[in-house]
Symmetry: D2
Subunit: 350 residues, 4 copies
């Protein structure tokens, strides 16, 4: 219903615009007596924030999380947890020249058409800054999942055509969030080249959730992979989502695509840890396609708000590739879906 | 919340098992005074039903739709519309040999783990038969959209590795639901070969919605493409979803990926008709990866319900490729999401 | 969202019109492996159905419940349970004279204004017949609650001004559903007198839920009493709802109204078993005001659908007092709310 | 689902504890381009805040509303509006003596049982301070309704047994929020006497919504009066809700209770402006029973958190009667339900 609310049992409502006073998250349905580690929440925000690495935007936001409600003596109380992240380096004036211009690849035109009003200061609600609230809430969901043995690790597995072959379970430390050092180096080079050309590049982010017990997720419309696909596709730049072997499965024979059952589990995991929308107990494997950053320095053809032809060249502080910063966001969405599925299963079978 | 309910403003609840007495749909939130054409609903069911073509399963279900509520003098009344499709060719006894066997690639193992009880008669709730209810409801949604000029056409664009290049706007008449006759012939041959080998094949289904006005869809979690991705991924055999150029966008430069704005619209449509989660007014372009039918005659390794090794060879009536029959299902889900988005936009701006 | 769907964790969707082919209920979120006693469901329907007693309408409906889905070997499977009750004694022609007349006290005028179309056959969706679906679903919820020790008993405690003082925990067998035999006799007489005069009377129905553990219900908008009040007020003829001492509390001093805490519980139960929206472990005490049946034989002033003055005299088969038949409906809604609260608490704390 | 979220189309999520840093509201689904008058929002908060009159608590909160998101150039944008009200006069230390005591009539015992943790600083989430967020959001809903001609006016019509007969349409200025000056004076005296005795009193609040067009509200579970009853019963101290003549209708004959239809409307309004859950176009008439403030200076019997007998005497800053301060809260909830119903009707019929 609410497009700014996510989840069924664990429900996240977010608010805030790119250059408004703050973005924030209200997380409801949290079990009580969770010892919330705010340092852990901050760590996830630090992974997402701009200016965190040489390959990201130069906007300098400390992105400090502040708790407005729901915590007492360090524990959740069952009341909604409100987390707020104030904007400190907002520079709406930077966007003044773009006031009348609709940026290609952005939501400027569609917001204008939908609402008849548009907060032109850096994209307003459509800005990637909105994802800070998701990351903060996802970090809380991660802390719900950790004691159950569930671990969610994402990384960039492809960027600007450079395909990596990383250890899927190791959270990468590299600026491009890729655990294959050789590929990571080439990815960084590709980003720098795109920056030099005033252009941008895309990539593929993979998220693996290990330790998910069999039996999470629901049939028909509430399939675990359907919820995850919707969750990942709701991240700004994502244009495709795969589960397990994904599109490659469409090219296999059934005898090849089926994962044989063996005592205690499965021989393979082409299905990506989900059958009939319910977790199998194997690793959940997700991938999403991330389009290149639409804001580029190269001159592009566009129109202004009155429909007249114009050209545009982005001068702001933009990432030449958003994929690395999308890693913690995709992880956060995965954590939120999984924590929700856990509560759903508790409601169903106790 | 309910995993058997879909939608926000136009809400579909489905029920029914593969070999139970009926499957059905309750559609709520329908605007009143729609002249419902039941022949049109039946036509969509006929496109989906088994036994409809030489390449599909031999189960013979007439799939006649019956209206239990919500219609008066041929018009919707604002009350929930209940459509029921009785099962006539259910043969639960066919599944007796599989009572203790968990079929690879099916939801048998996961339902067993989740619920501790499993309706083993042909997959129960996890059966593809559940989609008949979606198709019936989607046909109603299609009739809501038609007067607005919205048209939803799907087809198979790839099958068993055969890539087609069809006219995207023409609903294909071929048994494989592919509008490129030369490719369609090769696809049929591939299906027959798989059948002969006791194996199965997968494919890619594309759905294009034309005539969607700019401004449908919502920001953040309610993005039009997020809802569509979740909707399509909720169809049994779907393992991947793309919007517009999808995964190919991850390999482009920003200057190539952005659709330039021109007076009156856009120069290209790489984004697939959606920016920031809101429709642009261009064609909505969706694709989904369909895995091969898991039930195959070839002997497979599996376990029984007590975890002991076993082998299995499907003897039932199964499609060697589910992709053609998935076309009306994918269209139905698209129609449901779009009709819902239309009502959402009416609520928001009148 | 859906006005025909009720509940959060245990979700009931109902459909059907008074003189359509059937009314039905889809109940989703049911825990698996409940041995469903269909005889118990039928027994509740029998308590509600017309023609069951000398004081009720003469419409003769057997109201046989039929299961379309969600049951396997007598157990719930986790799939949605669809219960259908076919209409056998529908006589839409009886309503032909009322086609153009708007009945006072009924929803005729408001449906006409809201939808621009109205199923005039006996009230259509606004008919009390809709409550058969609630009763069937409530009987299932009751079976979820029974093993937890929760028992829900309703009765008429006031009718036509006759105030009863019944044992609150004993389900009354009398036709007027009142456990105080002396008052029940006077109530029956009052109903017969109203019938003789071509008029109707109202009453007050009380529902007591015993055995509800402390801790069910949620703060703020999800208060247990708020959900119960909404649930009871959603029953057609109900115009007021009280919890515990209700309106009488507004006339007490705080020192009198507060229930003192004593070791192991409370000294009194003026609050009606709920504090801050959460159950106290005491009996939940609810009362609802039931207006007189609006359809009466006495001539009334009204207008026709074109707004012209007219008179009306109901000739159909109507109860002169709906309160006794409302008892199982109020119990059903209470059971649905409580079962939902139980699942909610399981989601929250396991 | 979320117990801290209210509404279907216009959705309010609230957060915050009595003595935490702030309470707040996130309002989603707001139509864009509403010129929001923040002065009007503040005015409603001023009506609710403690310390506003001689008959209310001495806690001195300026209750200044701050906008964190959703507003641009003074207009709503379609993005969620986040309103925050910081706590300035929080004195958690005042509650230190009550740390181990469970206050009669409060939610202390039930929160303790439900969550196993309790924010004892003034009731935490269960405090009446939570209603500040409702009032702020309701003031926004009121501004949506005003251009449609809808006006919502509440007042105290009974207090400590003093029954008033005020002009229902005039918002009262008196400290007790009662528009009948003679009765208001006696109510004030009753409150002062209760304060002197260390006790408290209750009352009845009436809310009338005029200008509501016919056709708002939905059938079955989404009846306008069902939503309103749930909304009002969700306010802390409310223990009963009536619509129209409410419980008095249970004592009338049908011929007396029915509102005759006359050309252009109805002869009377016993139904309180709603039939079959849908507005009739007449005044919506609601009343709620407000229990006496549970915190009183008089010594009461209770137990401590370990279940041992104890006595308690409230020393904090408490209203001897909460009914006057409840008026703006009841109005706010009514405005929220009505604005939601308006959007629902737009979704349904455009």
């Amino acid at each position: 219903m609410s497009s700014n609310t996510f989840g069924r049992y664990l429900r996240l409502t977010t608010f805030g615009e790119s250059h408004g006073p703050a973005v924030g998250a209200v997380l409801d349905g949290l079990p009580p007596r969770l010892n919330l580690d705010l340092t852990g929440v901050q760590r996830e925000l630090d992974r997402r924030r701009p200016g965190a690495s040489s390959v990201a935007s130069a906007r300098r936001e400390p992105d400090r999380v502040q708790v407005l409600s729901g915590l007492f003596d360090g524990q959740t109380t069952g009341a909604p947890l409100c987390l707020v992240i104030a904007s400190e380096d907002a520079r709406p004036a930077d966007y003044e020249p773009l006031r009348e211009l609709l940026r290609p690849g952005h939501a400027d035109a569609t917001y204008h058409q939908k609402y008849g009003i548009r907060d032109w200061r850096g994209g307003g609600r459509a800005s990637g800054r909105e994802t800070a609230a998701r990351v903060a809430a996802g970090a809380v969901a991660r802390q719900l999942l950790a004691p159950l043995g569930v671990r969610v690790v994402g990384q960039v597995i492809e960027l600007a055509g450079v395909v990596a072959d990383p250890d899927p379970d190791v959270a990468p430390e590299s600026p491009v969030r890729c655990g294959d050092p050789e590929a990571a180096a080439r990815m960084e080079a590709a980003i720098e080249q795109a920056r030099a050309e005033g252009d941008s590049v895309g990539g593929v982010v993979q998220v693996i959730a290990s330790g998910v017990p069999a039996g999470w997720g629901d049939p028909v419309f509430g399939k675990l992979d359907a919820l995850l696909a919707g969750a990942l596709m709701s991240i700004g730049a994502v244009k495709g989502v795969e589960v397990g072997d994904g599109f490659a499965l469409a090219r296999m024979m059934g005898s090849e695509a089926n994962d044989a059952l063996v005592p205690g589990g499965f021989a393979t995991n082409r299905a990506g840890g989900v059958l009939g929308g319910i977790s199998t107990g194997q690793d959940l494997v997700l991938r999403c396609a991330v389009k290149p950053t639409p804001s580029i320095r190269k001159t592009q053809t566009t129109v202004d708000t009155s429909g007249q032809p114009a050209t545009i060249s982005a001068q702001g502080r933009h990432d030449p590739c958003i994929a690395p910063r999308l890693v913690p966001v995709a992880e956060a969405m995965t954590c939120l879906v999984l924590a929700d599925a856990w509560l759903a299963q508790r409601a169903l079978v106790g």
